[in-house]
């Protein structure tokens, strides 16, 4: 059993209004150094079987990420 962490982020060319809103809020709190905020998702799961990284990538392609608008990164702990 492997613990897998998948990070899904909006692609660079896709507008991320959530990231922009968070950046504005940070600046409103006085964090003037905050730049380029982007908000994505972290998905944690356990995978049985011989090649958890490959399985996780297949899961991303099948459901967890939409390649038109999102990039994903797989990490096996």
């Amino acid at each position: 059993m492997s613990r897998v962490v998948i990070t899904v982020m909006p692609r660079a060319e896709v507008l991320d209004p959530q990231g922009q809103a968070v950046e504005r809020a940070l600046r409103g709190l006085g964090f003037d150094d905050a730049n380029g905020v982007r908000v994505g998702k972290r998905i944690e799961l356990e995978i049985d079987g011989p090649d958890p990284a490959q399985t996780a990538r297949r899961m991303c392609e099948a459901l967890l990420a939409n390649p038109l608008i999102e990039d994903f990164h797989v990490e096996v702990e």
Binding site: V14, L15, Q18, A62, L63, N66, L68, I69
Partner: protein, 211 residues
Amino acid sequence: MSVAIVRFPGTLDHASAHAAVTRMGGRAQYAWHADRHLPDGTSAVLLPGGFSYGDHLRPGAIASRSPIMAAVRAHAEIGGPVIGICNGFQMLCESGLLPGALIDNDSLSFICRQVDVEVVDSSTRWTGDAKSGDSLSIPIKHHGGAWFGDAEQARVVLRYRGDNPNGSVEAVAGVANEAGNVMGLMPHPEEACDPLLGSTDGRALVSGLLA
């Protein structure tokens, strides 16, 4: 001959879609997301609006992988009419039956208001007698309705006129597949079929299911 209106957990607009189809003289039957087949006699499919599966992961993502969608895809592939409205549009993009994806409105606000959309391509079954350049007054109500994709490659049928309410690429409001039998749009034509609701401009789109 009847229109299958597919319900998913979290679908909201099936009843107004049903009312619009019957008002136009059509027959409608509900189908359920877990069904493997469309109801007997189905000639067209309507994927209604709402928040299927609570919009978890991405709007329409989980619904587009539910059992009924294989039957919807088969219906589309033989040229059967399919329309996806709002959440239904998100499902059709997620399933790959339509190009592009829907992302959050650039304002991050939920928008609920009447908008004018321009008919860009009047050659599909979905715009009735309207000509290119005509305006249709139809309401929108969505949070994640900004279409993102290649507007040069896609068959754009409707565009927002005036202010772009959600930041969609090239102000796209609705697209069809290359063959024209599958249509998706964020505005709600089923809410613009009765004079009591202020506009009957949605009838053209609903009648595309019955033609």
